[in-house]
Amino acid sequence: MSKANVSINVEHLTRVEGHGNIVVDVKDGEVKKCLWEVTEAPRFFEAMVRGRRWDELHHITARICGICSIGHTFASLKATEKALDVQVTEQTVKLRKLLLHMENLQSHILHVGYLVVPDLFGVGSVIPLASSHPDEVLTVVRVHRLSNEVCDIVGGRTTHPIRCTVGGWTMWPTVKELQYLKKRFLEGVEDLKALAGVVKSVAGKIPPFERETEYIGLVSDEEYALYDGDIGSTDAGRFPVEEYLDVTNEFIVRHSTAKHAKNKRDAYMVGALARFNLNHKQLTPLAKEVAEMLGLKAICTNPYMISVAQVVECVHSVEDSIRLTDELLADGIKDEKPSKVEVKAGRGIASDDVPRGILFHDYEYDKDGLCVAANGVIPTNQNHENIQKDLEALVPSILDKDEKEIELFCEMLVRAYDPCISCSAHAVKVKLNIR
């Protein structure tokens, strides 16, 4: 085909969470327009929580996102606990880490297994794969079910957890339940090894594309940080979470109801690949093996490899859950009522690193414990500008391909980021005009 004129317009990109468009316009071999647009209806959480009480905020803000509801719950609880000077026990933290691992597993396996893999097999969805590759699909379903079972047992529900509250938990898993979970984790490791093999078999289809950028995520001396830590950057070093505004620098663009962010460069990346690039030395042994088998090496600058980093993190999350469960069983589960809260005025800023990247919640309460100001900086918002810069670099490099293939590569790029558009508009849609 003629390379001179390409017009791609992907309206409402599929197999992503939320509404976004890719618009690419190429005329006479020159890229005229190349835009990642978010058109999701904005929801205004920062306004919604004003006037609500300290013990309701986590319940409301969990509902920013169905997929990351656990991560939002913990960022929220930690922010409130900081504002009100509430301490939590070691058991509370271990159970929170366990639940966060299972959200990471649930989200990543849904993304890789149901949303990304169809592109690598050249089909439109996972549905035809259920007939053509039943064993592989059933393995994905089993791992997905494992994560959901754990969330049910530990959190009280798979989405929007019930048992998590300011100062601790309203209920705890029993010893018998934890023993059952350990058995399920061990089965999960075997399933994940099999899936890593499937990903390796189609890894050749992952487009070769490199673009250097800044990678940002939580970092900790203790572990591969998800629940807590400092802000880490591959360009700029380490900062306390309280300085999040100086790192995220959110800005507003007209073509997107979701905010964008930048730090040292014109854009930065958060999420599984950013965390891998920052913290790979702290992965569990099997996760390191799988990374090596799949050719993932830090610093990896190919955004399509985010999906591979997600597979590596799935293994890490299950292996580390075995450790946490062993420790909880060894310590014995104690009936610990949530810590007592004395209401006072205060501000709390907290962060955790959720499936799509580092997340910040920042609340200010008055003396009655009513929220007077709130801010949330969501992973996908931090990735939007990086997606935009990737598209701008990618499109000119693939103009020798036919239009369908260009469209697919653009779609796959955005999909690799696993954008959570509901979150980011606390808001995605795709329009590709390659003309």
Binding site: T14, A41, E56, C65, I67, Y114, R157, T158, T159
Partner: protein, 245 residues
């Protein structure tokens, strides 16, 4: 021929569609009974030819109304799923402030770039045939409603309060524990899941059709709570309801 089913979402967290993905192996069974022709979150294909449309999310922009009306025209049966779609849900919390203020809080001096109006449930814009309540929906209840629709019978959605189920589950009453609960006026069908897990009823399934307001007031009096407390709590999910206004 298998009925054609489509899923659509407006302003919400997509947690309800996630519950459908969470059906796991049962989802493969559902796929034997229906053809899913549109489900943007999981598939690339899309068709406007469908019998049953499931809608998640609230309507928060005038520009979304045309899309919703088109779906209503195309569908023989329209089902609202999840609190945002059935009763407006937490999105309506912003309705308590002026839209100018709300936009300013989030977008500052760029507030004029973006469109929003007071959030509303789906039936405020188009007629809804059936409701799957909850935040999030219960996947078992979703399958129950889908089965009823496939058999051509009306789905049986409870019209009694959560307290009925909670008593059967032998929970200690939340009020007895010194906490506040919306169980006495909230539509059952969740098997009092939140209370079973040590929490309170937050009211996500909306009010029963004819809530016993007097009984609720008696309960409030008995435990030294005010109607204002109750209303504030009800506004969490049900700001849009006439009763709460």
């Amino acid at each position: 021929m298998k009925p054609k089913v489509a899923f659509f979402d407006f302003a919400g967290c997509e947690g309800d569609q996630l519950q459908i993905a969470n059906l796991e192996e049962d989802l493969l069974e559902v796929l034997k009974l229906v053809d899913i022709v549109s489900f943007r979150e999981v598939m690339k294909e899309h068709s406007d030819d469908y019998d049953i449309a499931f809608i998640e999310g609230s309507i928060t922009r005038e520009s979304d109304e045309a899309r919703l009306k088109k779906i209503r025209e195309n569908a023989k049966v329209l089902v609202a799923i999840g609190a945002c779609a059935t009763i407006g849900g937490i999105n309506c919390l912003k309705n308590l402030q002026s839209m100018d203020e709300v936009k300013k809080i989030v977008y500052g001096d760029k507030a004029d770039w973006f469109e929003t109006y007071p959030a509303r449930p789906v039936d405020a814009v188009v007629p809804v045939d059936y409701y799957v309540h909850g935040c999030p929906i219960d996947k078992g209840e979703f399958v129950k409603v889908l089965k009823a629709l496939l058999l051509g019978v009306k789905p049986d959605i409870p019209n009694y309060p959560v307290c009925v189920e909670c008593k059967k589950n032998e929970n200690v009453c939340v009020f007895e524990k010194g906490m506040f609960c919306l169980g006495p006026v909230t539509r059952a069908g969740c098997s009092s899941r939140c209370v079973n897990n040590g929490s309170i009823c937050w009211g996500c399934r909306g009010l029963v059709d004819d809530p016993n307001i007097n009984a609720e007031k008696e309960v409030l009096e008995k435990y030294g709570l005010s109607v204002d407390d109750a209303l504030k709590m009800l506004r969490l999910y049900d700001t849009y309801s006439e009763v709460v206004k």
